[in-house]
Every structure is written in C-alpha cells, then in structure tokens.
C-alpha cells in the first residue's frame, strides 16, 4: 500500500520534522516499503490475544510521595542552547 505524498508530508508535520522538497519522493518510497512490509502482521490470528506492552508484564511500581530530588537546574542547563534567568528561551509563542 503506497503512501501518498500528502500523507508523508502530514506525518512529517506531526513528527515535527522538516523534510525538503527533493527528499519527499525518497521518503514516500521508503516509508511505503516499510508499511507494505509490516502488513504481513494482518495474516496473524490475534483475536483472543492480549497486546504485550512489557515483556515481563510488569506494572508501574509506586513509591511514597515525598521529595527526593535536589534542584540541579544550573548543572542541567549546561547544555541548554539559550537560557536567561534559568528559563529556556524559545521564539515567541503567544501573540
């Protein structure tokens, strides 16, 4: 099942990936191949089968709701591209 150009552009948008005009046909072809490949899964009889999210069927372990972390903002912001007064700078969002 081939994906359309429009679908690929929409997926790229959802994934917040900028792909250039001339890259689009390559992605259309490769993604279509991959989607075709995984369509084999349709052959499997899975009506009464539970989906497996964790190989050992674990659920989220819980702990007491107490503060255990220290403020290490300075350390963690060492890699931040742009900060000011401990805040991360981004282009204006709200007009």
């Amino acid at each position: 099942m081939a994906l359309t150009r429009h679908e690929v552009e929409n997926i790229a948008h959802l994934a917040r990936l900028r792909i250039s005009e001339d890259e689009v046909p390559g992605y259309v072809e490769n993604l279509s191949r991959i989607i075709d490949f995984v369509a084999q899964l349709d052959d499997a009889e899975t009506d009464k089968v539970e989906p497996m999210a964790h190989p050992l069927h674990m659920t989220q372990p819980l702990r007491d709701d107490v503060v255990t972390e220290e403020d290490q903002r300075e350390l963690f912001q060492i890699n931040a591209p742009r900060t000011e007064r401990g805040l991360y700078l981004v282009p204006r969002v709200i007009e």
């Binding site: 994906l3 679908e7 690929v8 997926i11 790229a12 959802l14 994934a15 917040r16 990936l17 900028r18 792909i19 992605y27 490769n30 993604l31 191949r33 991959i34 989607i35 490949f37 995984v38 369509a39 084999q40 899964l41 349709d42 052959d43 499997a44 899975t46 089968v49 539970e50 989906p51 497996m52 999210a53 964790h54 190989p55 050992l56 674990m58 989220q60 372990p61 702990r63 290490q72 350390l75 963690f76 912001q77 060492i78 890699n79 931040a80 591209p81 742009r82 991360y88 981004v90 282009p91 204006r92 969002v93």
Partner: protein, 485 residues
C-alpha cells in the same frame, strides 16, 4: 597484553605483573595508531583514563581490588558519562556533555574499570551495520571494506581488534549479538529489566537492554556481575536477585536439554553459516547435551512486529529532542514550529527520520489499532512460542545472523533489506529473553556467530553453556591479524 582476555588481565593485575596504568597506556597507544582505520570511537578520554588507572593501582596495592579493578573498557556512546560528550552517534547530540553517569557506567566505574573511550554506533542505536552514524561508518577489523554490524559496531570492532578488552553495548533488536557475530567476539544481551536503563539514551523503551562485548563468556560473566541489579531510577527494571554467575560457569552440561528452532534454518540462512552453526551444536552434544528440534511458529513475524513497535516507541522517545533544552538547535528560527522542525530535520539522519515517521504513522489516529496494537498482540504470540519451547528444553541454539559481514554500502538502498539482518535476533528482544552470540566458525575469512537463548533471568545457564563451549573450542581465540596483531 592485548590478546589476553579480561579474566587473564585481571589475574596479571592482581599478581602485580602489570599495573593498570601500564595496561591503560598500552591500549591507548593501540587506539592512537589503529582506531582511525576502524573509526571505532567518537571520543577518546586518554587523560581521564590514566587518572582512573592510577586510582585503580592504589586499590590493587591496598589489597582491596575486585575482579574488574584496573581493567580498561570502552562505553558505547549511548551511555551518559558525566563530563564527557555523549553523542549517541548523532549530530543532534554532538554538543551534549552528559551531566551524570548512566547506571551501567556507575556500576563498572564503581568496580574499578577504566574508561578509554566512547564507542561509535549507529545513530540513536538504529541500524545493523554502523553505517548511520553522524561520525561515519565503522569498519570491520577482519576486512576493512566490510561492516562490523550494528548498532554497537564501534564497541564490537574495538574488542575484536583488541583495542580494548571489553566494551558495553545495547541491544534492542540484535545490536550486541549481531555485531559480536560479524566481528568474532562474545556478545551478551541480558533479560529485559536485568540492568537499569537509567542514563542509557532511550530508543525503544520496551526492548532496549544494556549488555557486554568481550572475548569470552567468562569475561561477560565478570561484567554482568557488576552491572546487574535493581535501580529505583528505572521503573522498568526488575528487582530480581543476582546469582553468582562465576560460581556456575564450569558446571557440567550433561543432561542439558537444547532446542534448535527449525524456523531459523530456512532458505535465508547462508549454507556456510548454517554448517558452522550445526558443527557448534554437535559440540554441545559431545559436551553431554541432548538436542531436539523445536518450533517457533510465529517467529517469522518478528521483524515486521518489531518494525512497528520499535519505531512507535522511538517516535515517542525522540520527541524530547526539540532544540530547546539540549542538543542541536537550528539557527534563527522564525517561530516555535520552525525551531522544532529544523532542529530535528538537521539533527537527525535519514534512518532516524524514517523510523520516527514510521512510528508517528502507526500511532496516529485511525492506525493505532491496526498497526501498533496488532503488533503488540503478535509480540505476545511470539513470546508464547518461546514459552512453549522452554517447556521442554532449557536452552535454544541457532545462527545469530543469516550471513557473515557484508560490504559497506551493500544494503543501504532498501531499508527492509537491512532490517532482515536481525531476523534471528529480534524475537528474543520482543520476548524479553536473554541471548548471547559466541564465535563458532569462519567463512572466507569472516567470523560466524552461534546464538544461545535462555529463559528469563537464566543468564547463569547461558554463560555456563557458552563457557563450556569455549573451553572445548578455539573460535573465540581468533583475532584479525595484519595491522591489528
């Protein structure tokens, strides 16, 4: 020095035949002259390594050393290492200096190991040939025109070329076992949840697992002993007691029940690889194991199931790379959307973008049930097949890869062709089982790997079986000659 195993080097250190500083300098010198041929490393940490070795020598002198004290290793560049660049093989993290150590790094440093370098890898662990790295492909020391496998290609090439006695790696669909097979070394992927994933950059959260690349199973056992354990900082790791892996290494294999999955000996398996694997299975018979054929009827759907689940999980995990808090940021963004799209478009390579988009597609509204849930149900079927097999046998044996190492550039045109390299390894990740690859032969000068698969948390048995095989055979002693001798 560099031809010795980790265990042999440990004995030498403890007998004060050599110091950790001498050993470290020896490997650093080799790295200096030979690493370039392989492109095995992203960052070499020479000064820090010597400093760590000095500390290790003091511990050895004080009589407080353990089996790993003073032994050099390389860490796959997917593990956060405090104060040292952690790139994950990607332009996205080329400028990222980790502010903390991963659990695996903490544990091995705590055991006294000395970090020589961060190993090159497929970008964000996505690949089977180490050709997707931002830092360029890694080469196979057995033949520089061939791939070492991936995604832990740098780690595997380093150990195979004896540039380090040991390396860490990660395995999500085969990324330790497959490069181990293609480079003629021993790779161990423990049970999912055995080793905490804290500080191990996430690709697919329900599949990723840290592991080891070494010359021998004995060496793997020594490292696993230090790495295994519970950690509240990883809520997916399991609080399961850690056995003494060394204590059972030499156990007799008499009566061991081995199963050989018939589906792994299909038309896709190179006959020469198949013959080497069958010869290895015969060795297990000689060691006292009984061997029977078993069936994993749904295992043929492993690769398609994986290429729904893993991309889905990666699309979620890689959404954190947005140019805001760390990593690559596009210049002069016009608005927030432009910041995200160009930072990610520039920061990620083509394979990563393909997988993020595949994942986005299979999780999108209208497709989630048909693809993602369907794949998770097929995953359950595959896990159930393994469960059934393990009702009558204790260990599965088979090939690790369908062919020996292939040429650089040979499979990069069609992603699906590349994906099929992991046909024998992927099911093990889907089921969360432990798996190993050990060298079992050579085909036209290239190594062949034997895969061993065990029940959950049965690493002791896997290591024991592999160790006994390595005591009876010599394949693991072979190393590429020439420049790397």
């Amino acid at each position: 020095m560099h031809t010795r195993t980790l265990a042999e080097l440990s004995a030498a250190l403890h007998a004060r035949e050599v110091s950790s500083v001498e050993l470290t300098r020896h490997f650093l010198a080799r790295i200096d002259t030979l690493a370039e041929k392989l492109n095995a490393f992203v960052t070499v940490t020479a000064d820090a390594a010597v400093a760590q070795a000095e500390v290790a020598d003091a511990v050895l002198a004080a009589g407080k050393a353990g089996p790993l004290t003073g032994i050099p290793l390389v860490h796959k560049d997917i593990f956060c290492t405090r104060g040292v660049r952690t790139s994950c093989g990607s332009r996205m993290l080329d400028n990222f200096v980790a502010p903390y150590d991963a659990f695996a790094v903490e544990r091995l440093a705590g055991a006294g190991m000395v970090m020589l370098a961060k190993a090159n890898m497929d970008e964000f662990a996505m690949g089977s040939s180490n050709e997707t790295s931002w830092y360029g492909p890694v080469r196979n020391p057995w033949d520089l025109d061939k791939v070492p496998g991936g995604s832990s290609g740098g780690s595997a090439a380093a150990v195979a070329a004896r540039l380090a006695p040991a390396a860490t790696g990660t395995d999500t669909g085969g990324s330790i076992r497959q490069p181990a097979a293609l480079t003629g070394i021993t790779g161990l992927k423990p049970t999912y949840g055995r080793i905490s994933r804290f500080g191990m950059i996430a690709f697919a959260s329900s599949l990723d697992q840290a592991g080891t690349l070494t010359q021998t199973a004995e060496d793997a056992a020594l490292m696993l002993a230090a790495m295994a354990g519970h950690d509240p900082r990883d809520s997916t790791c399991v609080d399961e007691p850690v056995p003494d892996y060394r204590a059972t290494l030499d156990d007799d294999l008499e009566g061991l029940r081995v199963g050989v999955p018939r589906e792994f000996f299909d038309a896709g398996l190179d006959p020469a690889n198949g013959a080497a694997v069958q010869a290895a299975i015969d060795e297990f018979r000689k060691l006292g194991a009984t061997v029977e054929e078993v069936s994993l009827p749904n295992v043929g759907l492993s690769v398609p199931a994986y290429y729904v689940v893993a991309p889905a999980e990666c699309s979620s995990n890689l959404s954190r790379f947005d140019g805001v808090r760390f990593g690559h940021r596009a210049e002069d963004p016009v608005d927030l959307e432009d910041l995200y799209k160009r930072s990610r478009g520039e920061g990620f390579g083509a394979e990563v973008q393909r997988r993020v988009m595949t994942g986005t597609y299979v999780l999108s509204a209208g497709y989630y049930d048909a693809y993602y849930l369907k794949a998770q149900r097929v995953r359950q079927l595959i896990a159930e097949d393994f469960r059934q097999a393990f009702a009558s046998v204790d260990l599965l044996l088979g090939p690790t890869t369908p062919t020996p190492a292939f040429a650089l550039g040979a499979k990069t045109d069609d992603p699906v062709t590349m994906y099929l390299n992991d046909i024998y390894t992927i099911g093990v990740n889907l089921a969360g089982l432990p798996g190993m690859s050990v060298p079992c032969g050579m085909v036209d000068g290239l190594p062949v790997g034997l895969q061993l698969i065990g029940r959950h948390f049965d690493e002791a048995r896997l290591l024991n079986a592999a160790h006994r095989y390595q005591q009876a055979t010599d394949w693991h002693r072979l190393a590429p000659g020439g420049d790397f001798a």
